[in-house]
């Protein structure tokens, strides 16, 4: 925990203070990490989001049918995706795919003395390895969430259009009418907070690996479990603040 807090402080230093002391972060590694963390996760995100959209629409159809309120299916799909399912499920995918990969990569670097070699070359590992990953995650998780929301809504549309008697225009209009911009923004805020949690927990796990290949495995597993728990708890807290307090 102490290590985790120190890492957070150190990241904040390298992002907000060091650039004003002439140590500006390099842009190229950030893009490399964005491809790795974000772009390569896009197919998995699309598949997940589509399945979730389809599932939501089918469940909604079943429940709302008895009330004769099938007209509200788009509302339900849209709001659930934007506010909760989009940010949470896409964070789950990114934890499983990118968070674990970052923890394992940094962990392997740690046990093969690469981190120590960087320090001895007077290159700060947080600046050189962690900061580009933090930026990449902060940009890519919200981007993937928006992308996933689109695909999820497409999944809902597929059910409504082909299994129920909606037409495309009716679905789109209904869905757009139901959502407010705040629904989108709240999801985006969540996803930025999740991004910070995921990447800091993964980097912290990687940098604190001890004891060979086995240690890398344990740390990677621990980082996935901790990220999931932290993310879900944080989601409950944020939902409480955004939709339940006022």
């Amino acid at each position: 925990m102490k290590n985790y807090l120190l890492l957070n402080l150190s990241i904040l230093y390298w992002i907000f203070i060091a650039p004003f002391k002439g140590q500006f972060f390099k842009i190229a590694p950030i893009f490399r990490q964005m491809v790795f963390i974000g772009v390569r996760a896009a197919p998995m995100v699309a598949l997940t989001a589509f399945s979730v959209g389809v599932t939501l629409a089918m469940q909604a159809a079943h429940s709302l049918e008895s009330l004769g309120a099938q007209i509200y299916i788009p509302d339900l799909v849209m709001l659930t995706l934007l506010r909760e399912m989009g940010p949470v499920l896409i964070a789950v995918i990114v934890i499983g795919r990118s968070g674990s990969a970052v923890a394992a990569e940094l962990g392997t670097m740690k046990v093969s003395e690469e981190i120590e070699a960087l320090e001895v070359m007077a290159i700060n590992p947080v600046q050189y390895l962690v900061v580009p990953r933090v930026f990449a995650m902060l940009v890519m998780l919200p981007a993937l969430t928006i992308f996933g929301n689109y695909i999820g809504i497409l999944g809902g549309w597929a059910v409504c259009r082909y299994a129920l008697d909606f037409n495309t225009a009716g679905y789109v209009l209904r869905a757009l009418e139901s959502a407010e911009t705040w629904d989108l923004y709240s999801g985006m805020i969540k996803s930025v907070v999740f991004a910070w949690l995921i990447i800091t927990i993964a980097c912290n796990a990687g940098l604190n690996v001890e004891g060979g290949a086995e240690g890398v495995g344990q740390s990677t597993t621990a980082s996935v479990v901790e990220s999931l728990l932290a993310m879900l708890v944080m989601n409950a807290i944020l939902t409480g603040i955004f939709f339940f307090s006022a």
Partner: protein, 284 residues
Amino acid sequence: MNANGETIIEVNHLVRRFGDRAVLDDISFNVHRGDTLVIMGGSGCGKSTLLRHMIGSMKPTSGSVKLFGEEVTGMSEREIERVRLRFGMLFQSGALLASLTVGENVALPLLQHTDKSPDQIEEIVKQKLQMVGLTGFEDLRPDEISGGMKKRVGLARALALDPELLFSDEPTSGLDPIMTAVVDELTLNLTKGTHMTAVVVSHDMTSAFRIATRMIMLGHGSIVAQGTPDEIRNSPNPEVQQFIHGKPDGPIPLNLSQDEHEHHQYVKPRPFAWARGRFHGRTR
């Protein structure tokens, strides 16, 4: 040899304890500019720990380490980075970054710490790789080359900023005899020609006697013998004689029991060790 030269490294009464075991016990020595100090000793005798204290990545329990006349033991991360720019370090495994090519590895310190143009950096990288006999290997990845080559790339990277001081952790283990001679020759040229100072941890006695101007033998965390290569070669100490001639019989025990091993080397206490002890019928 260079006893009157400027003192580059000053180690004074260095003690490092892990728990109640002293891994380094009251170690003192000086290294002067242009010297090559070889540190030898059996596995687990504290050589690597000593090296890590000298590069400032471990803090001693007590005692002092001065590099270039500056005390490094109490330095902040920021201050120590300034000192680290003046020395290079070759790790036992080479410690190349697996995600970068050989050329990018050698270029890394130059990119991070100098304002040189890409062309200049490419030129320096070529020259450093040529020095270690690896011309034309720039675009290979570390996993495509052998262990000995990795070590030589590590050496090229350590030399990239033309350091005044070079630390090497077993630079010649895993190299063939010819490459060992090349690396030794390189160390000699650098110490003689540019007055670089070298600290080498080595098991390889041929190579050690070829490059050393001073030698230290460690055992059980303290200095067993130190002196010039001739003094070490003619040392009456039976431990030294056994070690440099590689004899199986002598005062250095062949088999350490676990207790003795734990006595010499720190073993991290495992969680719930007291409970495990009970299951194994041991008391604590």
